[in-house]
């Protein structure tokens, strides 16, 4: 793309230069970093010395710039590099930041802002009030398009292996929109109830609030929204998708991976049949996890989310050959047979009656086939989650004694610590440092286990200390039932002949697409990864469905990207931002007392009440700002919002460059003695300008600490300017005048207020400026010549100023005011030079863009073809900025003409 001029910056200088050059007939590209042009000027109240409304005089320029036939505006964009070329032109790379909104569809109606569930500080109102993550920058924005503020993916959502948008549903519950929260969860994972009971919640482990007092009970909030929805909707509210694809898919295995794949495939209009070997669907959810953790009613209701889409589940169907499925009319197959086989110890006596694998025990118990273990003595061998569940279940079935045997110590057990804790509380015994040698029996029946005592030796390859036998220490532990829970194996033996398998029986698949060695057959879940967590299996099912869908359309799989997310937010940055947060205790899900729990197979955990759920959700820090709840997407009448949009890089070729990158306001926190940032009623002049602007944040002039209308206001001039201690000895030229302006406006807004201006000098040098100063005096503004050395806070939020009284007899004085406004200075914008190669664009000693012949050739920089307009070259007020921009435009035009006539 080719333009005559690139104007960097859409403030008053940039707009004026662009309009001048556009009127002359040159093609201008105006690049502005904010989502709207207007710069700082559009945010002001009035301007000096005329007291014209800032909006009234700049909006015609903004509209003119937007609609000029020769000006192309690129907002929310920044040039990243400007490289001068040999032919005198410039190669520019521009980065366009996406609003996540399609600009040609957005009408600026604002419906999205009403639906948004996240609030964040309003940077266009000097952080005085909040705005929503989905926002229109300000009412006069040009172009008036919505912007979704996103800092990245929130850590909780990013941690979820299934990509469930935890931040999104937390934000919706916080807003009381529970049904929408449920629907959002369904977008990423259909088994909401099961996850709410049994997920290991990696989101909570990654929650930024964990760095304050405690992470959010995200799973608890999920449980509330699931229970709430299911109580009101015993059946799903939807049926099969209308548009059918005509494709048939077989899913082998109805565990979490299979159910998830079936759900997402059915949503695409495919006909899905799940073939399940067991008598009932659910896989590990039904036969692995006991009902005291995951009640059957919850699982059954979850499964309805899938079958309501028209998915059929055929039980008691063991699949022997996948290839015959393909030949039998299915267009694709997803294998999710899980790890249903227990690994054997391979010690003598393992085939005795009474020795059982953990999966066989759990399946039988969860199917109701084991009536009672009364008076029985049970040993469970193993230390993972697959050992804890059988142990706790055995207790509930009435076992007299349950012992877990583990060859290392408790701290090395791979099971979740809270599960081990729960088991011990309920009365399970833990025999550490014991390794099974053989099972002893009589007449084919188990009598006891011979176990070797161990001690911890040197660490092995995995880093864990290797257990070493203690010579001679062997004991026999009596037992009626021994459950072997040392690991699970995938049930893939039957498919080894048809598909590539790894040595441990796990199916081999392409990591990205989950396709097996046979085209059209995909696999996922534990059968591929080995024993994992429910949410990981669900994620695999979703991924497989995505790629199967593309496979059925004949698309190349490798080039499709599944689940493209923004990078995770940096938690440290969030914690710094949220330093002022009030600490509140975490609501934990209540558990029944251990003695109560083992009485029967009843759900141990109790869910949150509505108040608890909303209060817990309110602790969310909104790390990524936008929560991805998609409420805005649904609210938009023209479907303009698209969260999958991304930044773009654009290369342009321009004939000349005008730097109009403006200035930076001095951050008064750097002047510690004045208390900005520590005392709420010390504000800076930009904040005061917003308070009195026409589109003001409050209805009147208020002070921050208590909302009182101030009646004794102090202005401290030269804050950050003429100050060697802050390395800025320059005068900022506009502060005296803008302080006089604000003082006059405040006297109009709050007629009873007393205003005192503490000054070193009053610089009123321009046309009409001295009269403006006299006008302020005549209105009754007090002037005190003396630098303010320090500001202290008094009890009621008032401030005590220590100042030097030069004209009133000298000496140090104190004065009390209820609001202090710091007239902050203007500094150079550090961005300007960085666009060129290091050292290429000349800067003056104060970091402004240097004009080598400032007096005779204003606007020219040291680089031919690069010009500067406005405060980027040095502080100036608005009338002088307009003049300077005209000069820069003239210089640019002359340069362009000279380049043309060269040829």
């Amino acid at each position: 793309m080719n333009y005559d001029v690139l104007v960097v910056g859409g403030g008053i200088a940039g707009m004026e230069s662009a309009l001048n050059l556009g009127d002359m007939g040159y093609k201008v590209l105006l690049v502005e970093k904010e989502p709207s042009i207007g710069g700082k000027m559009i945010l002001l109240s009035k301007v000096f010395p005329t007291l014209d409304c800032a909006s009234c005089i700049s909006t015609p320029k903004m509209a003119g710039t937007s609609h000029h036939p020769n000006i192309t505006m690129m907002v929310h964009s920044e040039p990243e590099s400007i490289v001068p070329r040999e032919d005198g032109r410039f190669q520019v790379r521009v980065r366009n930041h996406t609003n996540y909104v399609n600009p040609s569809a957005c009408t600026g109606c604002g419906e999205c802002t009403l639906a948004c569930t996240v609030a964040s500080p309003d940077q266009y109102n000097a952080d005085l009030v909040l705005k929503r993550a989905a926002h229109i920058p300000f009412p006069q924005a040009v172009p008036k398009k919505a912007v979704i503020e996103r800092a990245g993916t929130s850590p909780c959502s990013f941690a979820c292996p299934a990509g469930v948008k935890a931040h999104g549903y937390i934000a919706l519950v916080r807003a009381g929109r529970y049904d929408e929260a449920f629907a959002l969860h369904l977008e990423d994972a259909p088994l909401v109830g099961s996850l709410s009971r049994a997920c290991y919640a990696p989101c909570e482990g990654n929650c930024t609030r964990g760095g304050l007092e405690a992470p959010l009970s995200i799973r608890g909030v999920k449980r509330f929204l699931a229970d709430n929805y299911y109580a009101a909707h015993p059946e799903p509210e939807y049926g099969p998708v209308e548009k059918r694809s005509g494709k048939k898919i077989a899913v082998v295995g109805s565990g979490p991976a299979g159910l998830s794949a079936a759900y997402f495939l059915a949503k695409e209009g495919h006909d899905v049949t799940i073939l399940e070997a067991a008598p009932a669907p659910g896989g590990m959810l039904r036969y692995g996890i006991p009902a005291y953790r995951l009640p059957r009613e919850v699982l059954d209701r979850d499964i309805k989310n899938v079958t309501a889409l028209g998915v059929t589940i055929q039980v008691n169907q063991r699949v022997k050959s996948v290839k015959t499925l393909l030949q039998g009319g299915f267009d694709s197959v997803f294998l999710s047979v899980g790890t249903r086989e227990s690994q054997k110890l391979r010690v003598p006596g393992e085939d005795l009656e009474g020795v059982i694998g953990c999966m066989e025990f759990l399946s039988a118990a969860n199917a109701g086939q084991i009536a009672s273990l009364k008076d029985k003595s049970v040993i469970v061998i193993g230390g993972g989650n697959s050992a804890i569940d059988p142990a706790r279940l055995a207790l509930r079935l009435g076992a007299a004694k349950v012992t877990i045997l583990y060859r290392r110590t408790r701290s090395e057990m791979p099971a979740h610590d809270w599960e081990v804790q729960a088991a011990l509380e309920e009365g399970v015994h833990l025999a550490e440092l014991r390794s099974p040698l053989q099972f002893r029996g009589e007449s084919g029946r188990l009598q006891g286990l011979e176990a070797q005592q161990m001690r911890l030796g040197e660490p092995d390859a995995s880093g864990r200390r290797k257990p070493v036998p203690v010579d001679g220490a062997i004991e026999t532990i009596p037992a009626d039932l021994a459950i072997v829970s040392i690991g699970l194996k995938p049930s893939t033996a039957g498919f080894a002949a048809e598909l590539a398998c790894q040595k441990n029986g796990r199916l081999e698949v392409n990591d990205q697409t989950l396709e097996t060695s046979v085209s059209g057959i995909f696999a996922g879940g534990d059968a591929v990864t080995g024993p994992s967590m429910i949410v990981q299996a669900i994620g695999q099912g979703h991924r497989a469905a995505f790629y199967i869908n593309h496979y059925l359309q004949g698309n190349d799989l490798a080039s499709q990207v599944f689940n493209d997310r923004l990078p995770a937010v940096n938690k440290e940055e969030v914690l710094i931002r949220e330093q002022g947060a009030t600490l509140r205790p975490r609501a934990s899900l209540h558990e029944m007392a251990p003695a109560e729990r083992v009485r029967g197979i009843v759900e141990v955990e109790q869910g949150f009440t509505e108040e608890q759920a909303r209060a817990e959700a309110s602790r969310c820090l909104d790390c990524g700002v936008c929560s991805e709840c998609s409420a805005c997407v649904r609210a938009c009448p023209s479907s303009a919002i698209d969260l999958s949009l991304r930044d773009r890089e654009i290369e342009v070729d321009v004939g000349a460059v005008v730097m109009a990158s403006g200035f930076k306001l001095f951050n008064a926190r750097a002047k510690k003695s004045l208390g900005y940032g520590r005392f709420p009623n010390v504000i800076d002049a930009m904040q005061m300008d917003r308070i009195i602007a026409p589109t003001r944040p409050y209805n009147s002039v208020l002070r921050p600490s208590d909302g009182k209308v101030p009646d004794n206001i102090a202005y401290v001039l030269c804050t950050g300017s003429r100050d060697c201690t802050l390395d800025n000895r320059l005068c900022s030229r506009v502060c005296c005048m803008y302080s006089l302006k604000q003082a006059q406006l405040i006297m109009g807004a709050v007629p009873l207020a007393d205003i005192t201006i503490y000054f070193i000098d009053i610089r009123a040098f321009g046309k009409g400026y001295e009269e403006f100063y006299q006008q302020a005096r005549d209105m009754g503004v007090s002037f005190v010549k003396g630098k303010v050395a320090q500001i202290d806070q008094e009890e009621n939020g008032n401030l005590s100023l220590t100042y030097e009284d030069i004209e009133g007899g000298g000496g140090r004085r104190k004065a009390s005011h209820d609001l202090v406004v710091l007239s902050v200075g203007l500094l150079a914008n550090p961005v300007s030079a960085g666009l060129f190669a290091s050292g290429q664009l000349g800067l003056d000693p104060f970091s402004y863009v240097r004009e080598p012949e400032e007096d005779l050739e204003p606007g020219r920089t040291n680089i031919p073809g690069v010009f500067v307009a406005g405060t980027a070259a040095g502080i100036r007020d608005i009338p002088d900025t307009i003049l300077h921009s005209g000069a820069a435009a003239a210089q640019t035009a002359a340069y362009l003409q000279s380049m043309r006539s060269r040829v």
């Binding site: 509209a63 937007s66 609609h67």
Partner: protein, 136 residues
Amino acid sequence: MSEEHSGRSGPRILVFSTNSISDPGIDLAGSAHMHYQPGVVTIPVPCSSGIRPTWVLHAIEAGFDGVFIAADGTDCALVPDCTKRTGKIVDAAQKLLKEHGHDPRRLKMAAICSVCAESFVSHMEKLSTDLERLNS
């Protein structure tokens, strides 16, 4: 008469707009600094169905190259069938133009709503191009 250009660039177009609906839309084009032909002049009237066909003939014979009626479509609160009514005026006016030896394509009508600034600007562009072709 339509051959007489007053030295201005582009054709002279007389626009009849309605006070409540289309004129605010046309005014918005101006206040948004949108660029359209300088030869466009607007007369707002209370209702486009009150425009007399003889006014259109008079405008062409007085020197305008074209006439554009900015009607209200379905936006008018008082009359739901503005398009039908104004369409009848247009038919009669075009007949009148033909009888007097003028090209009936010099008269155009379209619905312009109260925020249709961009739509108005594109209508003016199209009409100007058509008129330039007719004049050449």
